[in-house]
Symmetry: C5
Subunit: 360 residues, 5 copies
């Protein structure tokens, strides 16, 4: 463990960014930017078309009547292209700002004609770091726009089901598609929480085997931070889903509401799991403290036993090392073996005493 890692996302520090006008569209995200690309899926119960493009203009040509259109935009660095999409669908300027502001927390905004939803994808990267990806969705009458920061594969399952006309997904409208996408995100939360639980278990086992090292406390602190980040991503989404469920707007059909209620159930379940793991993580610190104290107790016992046995014996030897002229025992023939014997008995007595005290 070389260096403590930083987890919490930051708003940009530069004075420039701080004094920017609200509504200014500027990408606030990772250095290693993903190039912006578009993918259009256009479907209804009978038809299914899929199309990739680099520019939004190509994508817009593709829209057809009587179909649900799903446009997925990967990479948020090219703000110009994203603004073009926004203009085409007549999105509010603040939405465009939020799409590229990766620090935006999960929320839902109701703009009469469409819903704007922000969610967070969570996954563990290969280096064991928790990655937090910013995802925006716009749900319109017969279209869905999704904006992904780095184009992960979380929506692949949904694409496949659309392509293979598996399940109910093709015969339902845009609202069901948004549900399916959110469901894919929430399913992923379970996997992340799962991994969290594995880490807690690993630390517990390490403590159980009494092999904590000096960095255990920092690993626990890291765990706490990760937990807080997950909560931050998950908890606001609960409200988002709740508001979708209670939506009176015509955008959500009555039968989709049943599915959203089910999704809400899953959200509550994942939240409950997080709270439980949270309590366990906090408990780890207590366990660590008692483990340290137990180890210190052990150290102290060794010291006390060694000192208690040999200090008195050394004193006895010291007595007969004195140089007084008149010490009758010194001349007595059996003094030495008698003393050695007494010392041995004393030693046994001590050992018995410590044994009875359960120190040995």
């Amino acid at each position: 463990m070389a260096k403590i890692k930083r987890y919490l996302p930051r708003r940009p520090k530069s004075t420039n960014a701080l004094h920017q006008a609200p509504g200014t569209v500027s990408y606030v995200g990772r250095k290693e930017q993903v190039e912006t690309s578009l993918e259009v899926i256009d479907y209804n119960a009978e038809n299914f078309e899929r199309f990739s493009s680099k520019t939004p203009e190509d994508a817009f040509k593709f829209e057809a009547e009587d179909r649900t259109t799903w446009i997925n935009i990967n990479g948020l660095s090219n703000t110009a292209e994203i603004e073009k999409v926004g203009k085409h669908f007549e999105l509010h300027p603040l939405i465009i700002e939020d799409i590229v502001n990766t620090n935006q927390r999960p929320k839902i905004d109701d703009y009469q004609d469409y819903y704007y939803v922000v969610a967070k994808m969570l996954y563990y990267k290969e280096d064991g770091q928790l990655e937090n990806e910013h995802i925006s969705m716009v749900l319109g009458k017969d279209y869905v726009l999704t904006f992904q920061e780095s184009g992960g594969d979380v929506f692949d399952g949904v694409r496949e089901r659309l392509a293979k006309a598996k399940g109910r997904i093709r015969s339902r409208g845009a609202d069901y598609l948004v549900f399916a996408l959110l469901d894919a995100i929430v399913d992923n939360y379970f996997a992340v929480v799962e991994e969290m639980s594995d880490k807690i278990e690993a630390l517990e086992e390490q403590l159980f085997n009494s092999q904590p090292n000096n960095h255990t406390t920092f690993e626990i602190q890291e765990l706490k931070k990760t937990m807080l980040r997950i909560r931050r991503a998950v908890f606001p989404l609960r409200e988002v889903v709740g508001r979708l469920e209670k939506s009176k707007s015509g955008l959500i059909q009555a039968e989709t509401t049943d599915y959203i209620r089910d999704l809400q159930d899953h959200m509550i379940q994942v939240s409950e799991n997080i709270e439980i793991y949270r309590e366990m993580t906090w408990g780890l610190m207590d366990m660590y403290m008692t483990t340290i104290s137990n180890k210190m107790n052990e150290v102290m016992k060794v010291l006390t036993i060694m000192a208690s046995i040999f200090i008195p014996l050394t004193f006895l030897a010291g007595i007969y090392g004195m140089n007084f002229e008149y010490m009758p025992e010194l001349e007595y023939r059996y003094s030495y073996p008698i003393l050695l014997g007494s010392m041995f008995l004393l030693l046994l007595g001590m050992l018995y005493y410590f044994k009875r005290k359960h120190w040995l």
Copy 2:
């Protein structure tokens, strides 16, 4: 205590399951599956019939007019059979999914024509592990469906009362039956919380007798986890019962509401007990910490007393072990007995000092 056990239920990890379409019916439960079987009880105030079957088709033949029909399905692994039952009673597909998803938390869904209720049976297995069984109920106009994961005996008391026409149970309808089944589950919670309390008491006694071992902290942590699991099963059910009580739907008769309110009382009582035991479990950790500290104090006292007494005496012996040529005391005849006497007095003084400090 060989290995730390895992308690928290998991959603399946496989990518497959994660990308499944919502509404897909797949059993998520124990390896050692219980074979699916059905039992039908059909009764009114005068009549009572009981019938077992392997297939739902046989069961459906059995339904009669003017009677309440209770169909109990044991074992959730055979999803095909369960889907048949669902189709027969026109259940929503999401209900079928929840019936076999053993991770589903307690909830109630109101589908106008019927209620869908999820609850959790808790019991301690022979190996001391807390078992968490998934139970679903459907309450219709004149029927009740129950789905049990492993077919325990918790409903036996209700069956017996039905058979013997004991109490009010036979003359009331399906709503009272659901109340009776929930009441049986809640009664069981008291037994589980009771056992929890016994474990806390056992740990307290262990600490009281100052015989904690290095694993006590882990036993307390296990207790905490079990507590969290019990809460997880019990607390959402409180809301379920509360919503049954306030139900305006015609499915719950006015006079049954009084009984459900009573059940609600029991739920609150068991919840309060859980909270109290929870506080006590958290208190155990503090007690453990102070017990460790007290033990360390004891160890330190032994060390301090031994060292404080014998180190100065050894010093005195060391003085007269020096080889200076001009040490008048060495030649004096009574030096040795005088020194021994002084040492003895010093020893007594020390003991008196430690006695007064209450260290002995």
Copy 3:
């Protein structure tokens, strides 16, 4: 302190009780049962009659027009007699069940024609244990029924005031009587909380005089449990009184509401006191921890001072106890007194050093 005592009430464990039909009347209480007896007080502003009986039938004869009748039943073990009372006043079967179920938490049930109220009497027994007595009340149009588990003397003050026509009590109806009875119970809570506070103070003084023993942590834990029990009895009653105050039913007269609001004030006051003592009890554990640590510090200081002074001196003595042939100091005439003097100076220096460090 011989054995840790159990405080929390239990629901019966026997499988039998668990599978009983709801509404079954079975007494769940103390072994040493109090024999059931009845006392009837019948009064209005002018008249007052008092009458004791062993059977309810005798009591019922006694009811008169234009008067308020208070029937007090002591002892809940004779469920048959209690059922007779219930039948006579047409009480709901669930009420009878709750009257004899001593684990029932405080609550109020509104059955149009009458209110059913459960409260808990708290008092310390001679052996220092907190006793928790189950009390039920039924408030009807012109009668009040009270059911006491063991017939304590808490209502004696009310009886006396009724007999002596003291205060407003005789000229008001049944609702004021229920208020007066609840007021007597709540007044008693103040005494119990008072005693609690004395115990906290005693422990504080014990810690203050630095004389905690190994069982102090368990005494604090006991205090915590008692606190939790008191809360359990008091807090739900707050809601009960609150609902009485807001009652729209004709059973509570407008002018009695003022008194009930005052009672509500007292409930809040006792609850606040409980919360304050609770915080103080939790604070005790922290104080205990610091007291232990301070004691350990003291022990360590004694050890460190003794060892730091005498180990170097012993080393010096050891130097001149060596048997080298060529050690010029040994032959020098004033070596011995010079060494003794140096040792003494070293001792003084050490003492000064520890003095300055405030260790002495």
Copy 4:
């Protein structure tokens, strides 16, 4: 610090008081009672009259038309006089009871024709104890009654402003007077919280200079208790002021509401300060714990350094103090200086080692 002081107010313990009828007027306060006296201030925008009296009868003669009358009663021990006042203004008997019950918590009661308000004055006495004075107010159409336990000087500022016609106070009615009185009380809370903060700071500095004594933990506990007492006085008043602000009754004029809202702001501010100091007080305990641990670390380091240096050296000296006949080094001429030199080098090495470990 001679004795731990008791802070929490008590309800009387005597069985007598416990069994008193509700509504019985009995003074529950300090031993050293203040004699009851009255002061009447009668004013409008043009006129101002002030009058002192020993009996209420004299005071009542004084009331004039078109003026606001403020009657201040000091000392609550003479309950008869207070009952006379109550009768004259037709106050509810429960109000009289609450006026003399100094344990009554802050509250507001709305009796259509008048408001009854209870508040608590807090101030530090000369002996450093926090004094808690019970203050009652009655706000009628054109009169204000105030009842003070011990007649402090908190209302002097208001009197002065009335006398000098300073500010808006004379031209407004009774409702503004009550606002001004409450404002005076709340202003005082800031001073008390201020003093609290000084005490926390003093303790922090004591800990910072590493000079905690064994009683520091008790001083922190006292601080906690005082904090809890202040909260108890302040928090319920927030609700009182809030209800005054939202009052629909004609007793509060619309323009006074603005002032009361401002007062509400101050209440929230003082509450927030209390919560902050509370967190800091709780933090003190943690700081104390770490300070103790740091001190113990220091003690242990001294012991470890002394023992680690001199125990090995003593061993070396012991080796050459042995009496074997064949120990060639003993006869070698430079053995002694070589050994002394080696010992010195060992000492330097040890010191260097401890230096590098930052123990010195």
Copy 5:
């Protein structure tokens, strides 16, 4: 670190201030007062004028039709000038009081014709102290008044955008200006929370490298206090923004509401960050405790190893330092080398033992 600094703002202590009439305008702020000065900006989509003045009278001349007027007053010490402004705009006297009372917490007051908003600017001064500046705003139909305590540069960005007609700001009215000013303040909170996070990280690294000093606990306590101050400034503003968003008054245009909702999002985000850093700060104390304990463990291990190895060896040397006449080993030729060898083996054994225990 010389002295613990005081952070929490205080209300004035002087008896004088305490007994002042409410509504009295007196500046409660810093000693080093900023001289009061005014700046007027008058703009609409086409025009922009800027004007500085020392007296309000000059400023008022400047107001033009069809334009939005922003008057910024720097320095609150000259209360007379501020009262003039208040009179000109017909502000309620309580507002003037709040403008100069720098302890006033963030709030919004709705006076039909205008809104009064209080907010807090936070920034770190060069000496590392967190500065808390009191800012008031009045939003009228076509004017905005802002009152700054010390005239910082936080609004410079807004001024610049107004001057350069950048963004939407010039074409919108006074409500958008207030939004822009609040947005500037909230943006600054992110920078402050950022700096907070850096401090936490620095402390974590210090602990991670096991180099806490005795003052670490005080630095953590300071961090806690700063955190509490930030919360105090930020959390009430959340409610302020929330009430602006829900405002039904004509002062806020519908399209500005979208921007305010976005600001509300930022408020929630900064609040969440604060809560997360708060948890981490509290976690630091735990980490510090475990770090101390780990260090003590290390010290104890050194002591135990040194003592356990050399005390037995010294005892052995003591044995052969005894002066008994009959000790056969003394005369045996190879006794000395054999003993030295045995001692060396014992030493190795000990080292191996401690190695296996992971103490070395």
